[in-house]
């Protein structure tokens, strides 16, 4: 029973993510396009993914030693003295 409940949760979560992946294409948002002169706000440090990348990587490494999962940044490092 517990295994079935876990499996259905897992299936639902993956379906939800797949729906999110398809959403921009389905709504047509992505197809309209953003011209280069319209990207001033997107380049602002408070919007750029790159601003948080190194900090996120440090956090993932620290939390790997406290939680059972990993990922979310697109890479994985090696050993860690804090584990």
């Amino acid at each position: 029973m517990k295994i079935m409940k876990r499996a259905s949760w897992r299936r639902a979560a993956w379906l939800l993510l797949a729906a999110a992946l398809c959403a921009p294409s389905l709504t047509g948002c992505a197809a309209k396009g953003v011209a280069a002169y319209q990207r001033e706000n997107l380049a602002d440090p408070i919007m750029a993914f790159q601003t948080r990348a190194k900090k996120d990587a440090r956090r993932v490494r620290a939390l790997e030693a406290r939680e059972g999962s990993t990922g979310g940044i697109g890479g994985e490092g090696g050993g860690c003295a804090c584990k």
Binding site: R6, A62, G77, C82
Partner: protein, 374 residues
């Protein structure tokens, strides 16, 4: 230290300051001080240096060095007793000599990456008294559809040598751990004020994956921890950023993870960045995390064989939920003091995070950083 590290050092020598100036792009140095203190009194002090510079043409070199000093408190109960087991679960340390004294270890980490156009290759080296980790990595990214969409693919191969120190209660031979990683990430502009990023990641880890010093209380006695030698880990994530009209932005992250040990986790995070004035902004964040237990986890092993031959004293294998609150302050002095030839080269950051979980574990993380642009 391997041929990869030699290649990185040769790259440093080849990257002369005159070559950097020839391209006209500024080089930058980042210095960071990081302090981690948790409720088990484990203290981690990190000094991080990042150096980025153009070498020639469109080739860029980045170097990263991290010096970590870890202090793990002494065992607070007789060695090998059930009470002492909790004292060694939060960090790896041997129980030998005077186990009632604090244990200290140092880790040095060096990483180099060369980027040319859409391709980047890197080498990573980490060394501590009982652990040496190495990794080579490569990424490729490409802009598509008039730069509306960016696709990125990355892979890495890591090989770690684990050299357990002398331990009074258990004996583990030298061992290895290998990690194969790949990822695919797509970043899509949605509107002039919103952008979304999706990613999937896969890791196959093989080799020693338990703490060689940790003991588990099972069947009325203590036995060494034992985890499976193979683990397949996968996750998918989505990140959404929305710019708001009052010079602020909202960030939303979601990640799902599962592996063949039975751990399934969800992570939801939100953030708000707000400019206080030009060049100075604050960021507030919250993160919620929840995971299920591994198939072989139990809080009461009745025999020394555990479950399917595996035993764990690692709370990361148990059902777990956690919260994290954070505050970040960022000042760019090129905007705050544009007329000062010295100050305008600096950027300053201050970060504080508070983490706690349902295992009565909590931690405070403090970061202060300085960036200098040449």
């Amino acid at each position: 230290m391997g041929r990869g590290l030699v290649a990185v050092l040769l790259g440093v020598c080849a990257a002369s300051p005159s070559a950097a100036q020839a391209t006209g792009d500024p080089a930058a140095v980042n210095g960071l001080f990081r302090l981690f203190v948790d409720s088990k009194h484990v203290l981690v002090r990190s000094l991080v240096q990042d150096y980025s510079m153009p070498v020639a043409g469109d080739v860029n070199l980045t170097l990263h060095w991290n010096n970590e000093h870890v202090t793990i408190p002494g065992v607070s109960a007789p060695v090998g007793s059930p009470e002492a087991i909790d004292a060694i679960t939060t960090a790896s340390r041997p129980i030998s000599g005077d186990a009632y004294q604090d244990y200290e270890k140092v880790r040095n980490e060096l990483e180099g990456q060369v980027t040319r156009g859409p391709v980047a290759v890197g080498y990573y080296y980490s060394m501590e008294s009982d652990y040496v980790g190495q990794q080579v990595s490569a990424t490729y990214n490409r802009d598509l559809r008039d730069d509306q969409l960016n696709l990125s693919f990355g892979t890495s191969w890591g090989w770690d040598d684990i050299l357990p120190l002398e331990n009074q209660r258990s004996t583990t031979a030298a061992s290895t751990k290998n990690t194969l990683h790949w990822n695919a990430v797509a970043t899509q502009l949605l509107s002039p004020t919103s952008v979304v990023r999706f990613g999937v990641e896969y890791n196959h880890v093989s080799g020693l994956q338990h703490n060689p010093y940790r003991l588990v209380y099972a069947g009325g006695t203590t036995v060494p921890e034992r985890h499976p030698d193979s683990r397949e880990r996968r996750d998918a994530f989505v990140k959404f950023h929305q710019y708001l009209s009052n010079r602020s932005s909202l960030q939303f992250d979601y990640r799902i993870y599962d592996d063949d040990w039975g751990v399934l986790s969800h992570e939801i995070a939100g953030g708000l960045s707000q400019y206080v004035t030009r060049g100075f902004y604050a960021r507030y964040q919250y993160r919620w995390y929840r995971q299920s237990s591994a198939n072989f986890w139990s809080d009461d092993y009745t025999t020394t064989q555990g479950i399917d031959g595996y035993l764990t004293g690692d709370y990361r294998m148990s059902p777990l939920s956690s919260h994290l609150f954070g505050l970040s302050l960022n000042a760019d002095l090129s905007v705050l003091a544009p007329d000062s030839p010295t100050l305008r080269r600096f950027a300053l950051t201050f970060d504080y995070e508070r983490y706690f979980n349902n295992e009565n574990y909590s931690a405070d993380i403090l970061e202060t950083g300085v960036e200098f642009r040449f």
